[in-house]
């Protein structure tokens, strides 16, 4: 890639964010018509990435970028191959249509500009995710999609359901994001590579690494939450609380596909193992079934679509997991098809909602006359979704059955799952596309008209594309399907399937699917009732589970915190001093740092007397009946300490200690004149015993440590230096004072700062009274 | 009294400024201070200052004697196996009326045998004195009046 091209790609990646930045301003000026201008951004990016299609279809891959965070081996780099470019095109192509659609859908909304901003940021994040080469760049974009989707889902923030859905999406995908991060870091640690391109080039290094299983599970944690695999599927339908353009975008080509993208991207290095081929189909299949069954239950157009999205994601994961050439091709085809038809159908649903005021399928009907263009778009999309021949969805479905086949027990089972799922999806697709339009006209909250061009352009284009791309399947395979399949498989393959049906098992299965679909479509009402009954009987699902976890987390935290942080100072102190005792005694014991048994000290009697007085004073403080006695006794011990200092050659200390003790007692007495007197100590005996134990242990521990320290041979270098130079250089005979004002004057500077601040703080304490009405001004003395 | 204190202060300042805190230097400073006070005698009234010094000295000597005596009596009292005490508080009618004199008297009383100043009445006519032997308050009053109070009045009037 030339330097110019690199620069352009870089700009292309930043362009959505730039557009997001100006969107509010632009929208303020141009109202909803700003959509036309803003849609230029994704359109331009689409064009830019289209430019790569040619060379990539010839088997080239491109990786380029800039150094970003060299210390962490993170580059702002991109890796373009069939997979990422296809995704980029889907994201920007559908993104263009979505921006336009949003222009119409939120016309007149007071925060339309903000909405544009969010959706463009989301687009930028998604785009960055799929093209990112560096692991951590990918992760950053991955997280950005979670965050921007949080903003989008919670866009209608005044409704509790929106807020819940937004938080739920954030938490579930956030959980996945952390798992992904761990996975990427494990891969980094195991292989030493930090980018996708390097990882893909490393062949089977990862598969052979001892941490393969950990890496796989962590990556799957990320992919499954993002792509709403059972049992993490619940956030996706809830995300329907978002405005429809969001649903259409997040749930067709973007957000939810990110997980699938990741699996496809890593298939060459993580796939082809028993674990991969077991876990993915298992979860994918389960998701497919759960999604379709739950979809049957729904009456809300968007929710019906949402659950089929869940199902489709399950299908994609299942196919990716199977990992055979055909299965991967099927996944690729289905992914592209799904992006188009699901985007179109969501937009249709939104359009119907927007025009008629409801999206309850049971309250809709006969809109085909009022909204003919919409109807056409809906039918086109539903045909692709249902796998009707001539549509791209049909190619996908054929390839699915070809890929799964009936080869053995396991794949047979998967085929059955796919069959059931596809049949149900067929039914629901057509239910969404036909029920509102066909039949008798039903009164709707709003009188329905065809929407403006901004609204119907998107679905029509996407629906039409489902037809066109299948008709020119040779070209679309060459440019998209084959390069993408090759990328996912890690080896060059050519997709050949065309609108001409295969003769054989796949066709049979397709026919069965359609038959099943029609059957279900006809019995949809009954199925819905049945499902509702079953779900009521179960009465619990991961969605409620989320609430329970959140509440449980809050309750648990509340209890735990109330135990630990219980507001009682004596408890805090006890815990602290237990820690002190442990901090001294445990290492002393474990590392044998006990003091040796000392000799009995030889001291003159008056020194013993002074020590004794100190100890008596201490005892008196404890046993004092009232606090005043305690204060006087405090004076005794302080006094004894001063005498100890004096006897041990520290006149300055003794001096200061006398002064300070006196002043302490004075201040105590001054303050005590203001305190009511009550008995000093009324702890229960048990508590006292505990306190004695803690205090005694602590005291002994600290004393032992002191004794131990004094048994170390001592280096008197410092004191000798001070003695030597105190007079001759610092001109002072009192060495202690010279240390205070010269050798270590900085200590003293800090010390007087403490004194000053203490004085000021005490003044503030005494003078400032808590605000009581009227008195407020007077108190500011 | 005030003047002497000022004199002492001047002397202390002298020693501080001259940088040597020795007795001769202090005495020298004291004399210098006295001279300085003499210079400003008209403003502060320091005329009888030196004459009074003699009487103050006599008071001080009396006090020292009384202090030793007092301590001895306490010793005897405390060490006697059976303490026979008749303590009490009596009101001593003051003749001196200046704050300084009252205070001096009270302090001297405290430091001397068997008596201890507790308080001065609000109207400053009485000094309440605690005596360890209060069997004859009149006797005690007489002692004070004849002793310290008279000396104080001699020294400071």
């Amino acid at each position: 890639m030339t330097a110019d091209g690199q620069w352009l790609t870089f700009l292309a990646l930043l362009l959505p964010f730039a557009a997001a930045a100006i969107a509010p301003v632009l929208t303020k000026a141009l109202k909803h018509n700003a959509a036309w201008l803003l849609a230029l951004a994704p359109a331009l990016i689409f064009l830019h990435f289209s430019g790569f299609v040619g060379s990539i279809s010839e088997g080239e891959t491109l990786s380029a970028g800039y150094v970003w965070i060299p210390s962490l081996s993170v580059d702002f780099s991109w890796f373009l191959d069939g997979l990422s470019v296809t995704f980029a095109l889907l994201i920007t192509g559908i993104g263009t249509l979505i921006v336009l659609y949003a222009g119409g859908y939120l016309k007149g909304h007071e925060h339309q500009g903000r909405f544009f901003s969010f959706i463009l940021m989301f687009m930028g994040s998604m785009l960055g995710l799929v093209v990112a080469d560096s692991f951590l760049t990918l992760f950053v974009f991955w997280e950005l999609t979670s965050i921007t989707s949080f903003l989008l889902i919670g866009f209608d923030h005044s409704r509790e359901a929106s807020r819940r859905a937004a938080l739920q999406a954030l938490v579930v995908t956030g959980l996945g994001g952390l798992s992904l991060l761990a996975g990427l870091l494990v891969i980094w640690g195991a292989t030493g590579v930090t980018s996708m391109s390097a990882l893909l080039a490393s062949e089977s290094a990862l598969r052979d690494a001892p941490l393969y299983m950990a890496a796989l599970l962590l990556i799957l944690g990320g992919a499954f939450t993002k792509s709403a695999q059972f049992p993490f599927h619940f956030w996706l339908p809830n995300a329907m609380e978002a405005p429809t353009p969001v649903s259409a975008y997040l749930h067709s080509a973007t957000m939810v596909k990110a997980g699938v993208y990741l699996l496809m991207r890593l298939n060459p290095v993580l796939g082809d193992t028993v674990a991969w081929e077991t876990i993915l189909p298992l979860f994918g299949g389960a998701t497919l079934l759960v999604g379709t069954l739950l979809a049957v239950r729904q009456t809300d157009l968007k929710l019906m679509l949402a659950y089929t999205t869940v199902a489709s994601l399950g299908l994609l994961v299942m196919l990716t997991g199977v990992g055979s050439e055909k299965a991967v091709e099927a996944a690729v085809l289905y992914l592209v098809a799904h992006s188009m038809f699901k985007g179109a159908l969501f937009m249709v649903a939104g359009l119907v909602d927007h025009e008629s005021g409801t999206r309850d399928v049971t309250r809709l009907g006969g809109l085909r006359k009022a909204m003919p263009i919409t109807f056409v778009a809906a039918v086109l999309a539903a045909a692709s979704m249902g796998g009707v021949p001539l549509f791209f969805g049909f190619l996908a479905k054929e390839e699915i059955y070809a890929g799964l086949g009936f080869a053995g027990g396991w794949t047979a089972f998967l085929t059955l799952v796919a069959l059931i799922g596809n049949g149900l999806m067929f039914a629901i697709g057509f239910a969404v596309a036909l029920k509102p339009f066909l039949g008798a006209k039903v009164e709707t909250p709003k009188h329905a008209h065809e929407g403006p061009i901004l609204l119907w352009l998107g679905p029509l284009v996407l629906g039409g594309l489902g037809l066109v791309s299948a008709l020119v399947s040779g070209l679309s395979h060459q440019l998209v399907s084959s390069p993408m399949s090759s990328a996912v498989l890690g080896k060059p393959v050519t997709v050949t399937i065309s609108t001409v049906p295969h003769i054989g098992m796949p066709l049979v299965l397709s026919v069965v699917t359609v038959a099943l679909g029609i059957l279900v479509f006809a019995m949809l009402e009954r199925g819905r009732t049945a499902m509702a009954g079953i779900l009521t009987a179960i009465g619990w699902g991961p969605d409620q589970g989320f609430d329970q976890v959140m509440r449980g987390l809050t309750r648990l935290s509340f209890r735990v915190t109330n135990v630990i942080q219980n507001g009682r100072l004596d408890y805090y102190m006890t815990a602290t001093f237990v820690a002190v005792a442990a901090a001294v005694l445990i290492p002393m014991g474990l590392y044998d740092e006990w003091p040796t048994v000392p000799q009995f000290p030889r001291m003159p009697f008056y020194e013993w007397t002074v020590l004794l007085i100190g100890l008596i004073g201490l005892g008196a403080v404890i046993y004092a009946r009232d606090r005043l006695t305690a204060i006087v006794s405090l004076g005794i011990q302080g006094f004894a300490v001063a005498l100890i200092f004096m006897l041990l050659g520290a006149p300055d200390l003794s001096f200061t200690q006398f002064m300070v003790e006196t002043l302490s007692v004075v201040i105590l007495a001054l303050v005590m004149t203001r305190l009511r007197l009550s008995p000093t100590d009324h702890r229960p005996t048990g508590e006292k015993v505990l306190d004695v134990a803690v205090a005694g242990t602590c005291g002994a521990a600290l004393g032992l440590m002191l004794l131990r320290v004094t048994q170390v041979p001592f280096n008197t270098e410092l004191s000798e230096f001070f003695s030597q130079y105190s007079r001759v250089i610092a001109h002072g005979r009192n060495i202690v004072n010279v240390i205070l004002v010269d050798f270590r004057g900085t200590d003293t500077l800090g010390e007087i700062a403490v004194v000053m601040i203490a004085g000021l703080a005490i003044l503030a304490l005494v003078r400032i009274r808590s605000v009581k009405p009227l008195a407020e001004n007077k108190e500011e003395g | 009294m005030r003047l002497s204190l000022i004199n002492i202060i001047l002397a202390l300042i002298w020693t501080a400024v001259s940088g040597s805190f020795t007795l001769p230097n202090f005495i020298f400073g004291f004399l210098l201070g006295a001279a300085a006070l003499y210079l400003i005698r008209e403003q502060v009234g320091s005329l009888g200052y030196f004459a009074r010094a003699v009487r103050v000295t006599s008071l001080a000597l009396l006090f020292l004697y009384e202090l030793v005596l007092s301590a001895w009596r306490v010793a005897l009292l405390v060490l006697s196996p059976k303490m026979d005490l008749k303590p009490g508080i009596f009101a001593y009618p003051l003749k001196v009326d200046r704050d300084f004199e009252i205070t001096l008297l009270a302090n001297l009383i405290t430091l001397t045998p068997g008596t201890l100043s507790v308080d001065v009445s609000e109207d400053r006519r009485f000094l309440y004195v605690h005596a360890i032997d209060c069997s004859d308050p009149e006797e005690l009053q007489r002692d004070i009046a004849e002793g310290f109070e008279r000396k104080i009045m001699e020294a400071f009037r």
């Binding site: 006087v632 005794i636 007692v665 004075v666 007495a669 001054l670 | -």
Partner: protein, 111 residues
Amino acid sequence: MNASGEFLVFAEFIALALLSLSFLLTVVRVLVGPSLPDRVLALDMLVTIAIGFIAVIGIRTGFTLYLDIAIALGLVGFLATVAFARFVLSRRYEQEFVRRDTLGIYGDKEQ
């Protein structure tokens, strides 16, 4: 060391012994009280003894600079007493406190 020197050492020993005993006796008064002023008085007495103690230690060690501490004690030692006196006075109206403080000391035992 000559005889007078030995006498001085002996005197120091005796003085320190007497002072030590004084300390302990005074501490006993602090402990037994019974009233707050009694304890304060005893604390004040401790300061007084300490001044003597310092003087003797000064003589014993030859480091007369300990004298400064004695001066400071003489000056501020009574600050504590003043503060307590002030405190006792401010509690004048809390008759209950005083009654409890003095109960059974001057009343019951002695009378």
